[in-house]
């Protein structure tokens, strides 16, 4: 089904007598496989309101992310949370939609300092499992009018409601980007270096670590963005600060649209691989320990100063069992349908919290028709 508009979509859900599989661009098949009739938001397109002077945009859920980004770029603005493009990693095709970004709370390297997609969400319209249209939030920067269902809907992956429209805060593009790099660090030293950078006043907007780079050396990279002089100044300061970790390289002049961070954002080095891919959020200082406990032959890379560990290991590995108690959460992002059916995709919540999540699902989708089972 591909409803024409929100009303049509509400009717489709109200009239459904079995499970529905909600699809935006279909580029992020993360979660337990859902058996059900496909319901696509592809026809709900278009930018409703864009006010560059108020840093806000209101977009229908099926609008391609590329279209949103192009409109923003024309005003020298952008989605600051840097949403990951899952296509390289997951081997999917098609056009990612803004609704899909929000439904999966998709963020990128800049999340470490500016926040996640959810932090930029101002408002939603959605259709519940009963086919009821509802809205929450709005299109202003500060809004505490009633409960924040905007946050609840963001990241709920179509299991509480189908998003029809989202309002987002956007930010100006920077004039310039600079990157500071250090080679040869162990994961532990890399996390220390990234923590030092993130704990400095130099407004870091990315801190990632790759265990192998082009010349086979581990590489730690720190990004700063802003006005040109300021970027030059901060790159210099970070160089001084990080000198004790090793030889520091500095690159400036990468411009407002630097694409060198795509490998961190999209985990694209693992494109086409057969391994299962896990996404582990944790305390940065726990990252080296996690890396040390990965099974032999596993690959990893770090983002968010170590707060995000990407790990690739042999298909079917129960990585959670291997890692033991985790101060964080491990999500199985890439795996065969069989593995995703066998292992929980999302990190199991403690029983009382899981019960609460289940009760919420029951309140928004009492008949259990929206992506049933996808999130547990």
């Amino acid at each position: 089904m591909q409803p024409r508009d929100e009303t049509d979509l509400a009717e489709a859900i109200a009239g459904a007598n079995g499970p529905l599989r909600i699809i935006g661009g279909g580029t992020r098949p993360v979660g337990k496989p859902v058996a059900g009739e496909a319901l696509s938001t592809a026809a709900l397109t278009g930018i409703e309101v864009y006010e560059p002077g108020a840093l806000t945009i209101v977009v229908n859920a099926g609008t391609p992310v590329a279209e949103v980004e192009a409109a923003l770029a024309a005003e020298n603005q952008r989605l600051a949370f840097e949403p990951m493009d899952h296509r390289p990693l997951l081997g999917t095709t098609g056009e990612p939609t803004i609704g899909g970004v929000v439904a999966a709370n998709v963020s990128g390297p800049r999340r470490v300092t500016v926040g996640a997609c959810r932090d930029f969400m101002l408002g939603v319209r959605f259709v519940t499992g009963e086919g009821q249209v509802a809205k929450n939030g709005g299109r202003v920067m500060k809004n505490v009018t009633g409960y924040d269902l905007v946050k609840l809907m963001t990241g709920s992956r179509g299991t509480l409601g189908v998003l029809t429209q989202v309002s987002l805060k956007v930010l100006p593009k920077p004039e310039e980007t600079g990157v500071v790099g250090i080679e040869g660090l162990t994961p532990a030293r890399a996390v220390e270096a990234m923590s030092a950078a993130l704990g400095s006043p130099y407004d870091v907007s990315g801190a990632a670590h790759f265990p192998v780079s082009a010349n086979d050396e581990p590489q730690t990279v720190i990004r700063v963005e802003g006005f040109s002089n300021s970027v030059a100044y901060r790159v210099g300061k970070l160089g001084d600060l990080l000198g004790r970790f090793g030889e520091v390289s500095a690159v400036t002049g990468l411009g407002p649209d630097d694409t060198s961070w795509r490998t961190a954002r999209d985990v694209s080095l693992w494109e086409g691989g057969e391994e299962d891919v896990w996404r582990i959020v944790t305390r940065p200082s726990d990252a080296p320990g996690i890396v040390a406990r990965l099974p032999e032959g596993a690959k990893f890379q770090l983002d968010w100063g170590g707060g995000l560990v990407w790990a690739a290991c042999a298909p079917g590995t129960d990585l959670r069992a291997r890692l033991g108690p985790l101060n964080g959460a491990a999500t199985l992002v890439r795996a065969s349908e069989a593995t995703r059916a066998a292992l929980p995709v999302f990190h199991p919540e403690p029983a009382p919290v899981a019960a609460l999540s289940a009760r919420l699902r029951g309140q928004f989708d009492p008949r259990g028709v929206l992506n049933p089972g996808l999130m547990g």
């Binding site: 505490v144 609840l152 707060g307 609460l356």
Partner: protein, 479 residues
Amino acid sequence: MSSIAMPEPDAAIVGRKEEIVAALATAIGAESVISDPAETRAYECDALTAYSCPPLAAVLPHTTEEVAAVMRVCHEMGVPVVPRGSGTSLAGGALPTADCVILGTARLNAVLEVNYPDRYIRVQTGMTNLSVTGAVEADGYFYAPDPSSQLACAIAGNIAMNSGGAHCLKYGVTTNNLLGVRMVMADGEIIEIGGPHGEASCYDLLGVLCGSEGMLGVVTEATLRILPKPEGARPVLMGFDDPEVAGECVAAIIKAGVLPVAIEYMDRLCIRATEDFCGAGYPDVEALLIVEVEGSPDEIDEQLEKINAIARSLNPVELRESASAEESAMIWKGRKSAFGAMGQIGDYLCLDGTVPVSRLPEVLRRTGELSKQHGLACANVFHAGDGNMHPLILFNANAPGELEKAEAFGADILRLCVEVGGCLTGEHGVGIEKRDLMLDQYAEADLEYQMRVKDAFDPDWLLNPAKVFPLDLSAPRRA
């Protein structure tokens, strides 16, 4: 008489006061239970002082476990609980009813953990907002949300109201700086949501908890993001002889790609009041902006150059860049004492609607028109960068009918905010104050799903039940 209704207290509960107090004393010790009417008066209202009612009793637990014990007693006995931080809510969020127990966080005031490498602090939620920054400031860190009430207000209240502050234009509000909580559910169960890693594994329960006005759970511990202090900060003060031009200046600055940490607005009525109150040396103009930027001295110069160029193109009456720490303090002094200064003039009602920044000039103009219609003066002092307005309606609380008049004027302003695409409250919360205006912003179906969230957390509606939702809508659930 005041015009916002509260539900009738349950006579059966009030009649069982002794039994309830005894059970609470058994649970957490008599010294933590307050039941003498002379003493429960201390909890009869928050900063929305026009409304007051002493609670049945108040309890001041020391630990999460004691909070859980209180909640179990109240749950078993069917007694409503109203959580309370420091009582600075301007919306009546912490207003008791005669049949409720006030659960105060005053004794939950310990720092539990400070972690600089991972940039977080874990505290008990009775700590004041400012004391959290106090705990990390010597090491070069701070907790970003900075409500003007930060000396008094508790992290518990900040979380419940999703409070903001002058610097949230850059750093976000409470929800953007809250990583995790430990909390007690209405039935006494203790749960943890989120953590230092700051991401939900399933639904963003932390996101919906933040700003839920004490209705979903009693938050006893919080993990908060702390940030390294910037190298420096400098404000510039701008005076305009036309509020609309000041509004234009705000939008132009934001559009230009400079991201100040704060853009604050004051109008003439407020400027004069603060001048009389604290002599900050403000120019006597129609509208004043304080714009602050952060960074190294050179970075600050560069940003202020861009900002000043925008301001100059709009013919300001005054453009004063701070040249020293003392001058910066003076520029902020007036803004920070604005509420106190207005209090010296008389009683006021502080509103909190937000509008799209592009509509600020229009809303300022139409607020002026409404002021004439209602025959009450209205001052404006607010966070302009994010469109969060604080019209202060002046009235005489002792004159019969004036409070109702002021409330009617306030309701008109808030409806105007909604009409132009904004909302009823940007940071103070709904409480009782805006409860009955909720249907101006939301349809019944919208509110139904909000109430269902409460059903999931607190099926018996025992936690702060008479807030946020229009009473007739919540009545079947509260019964």
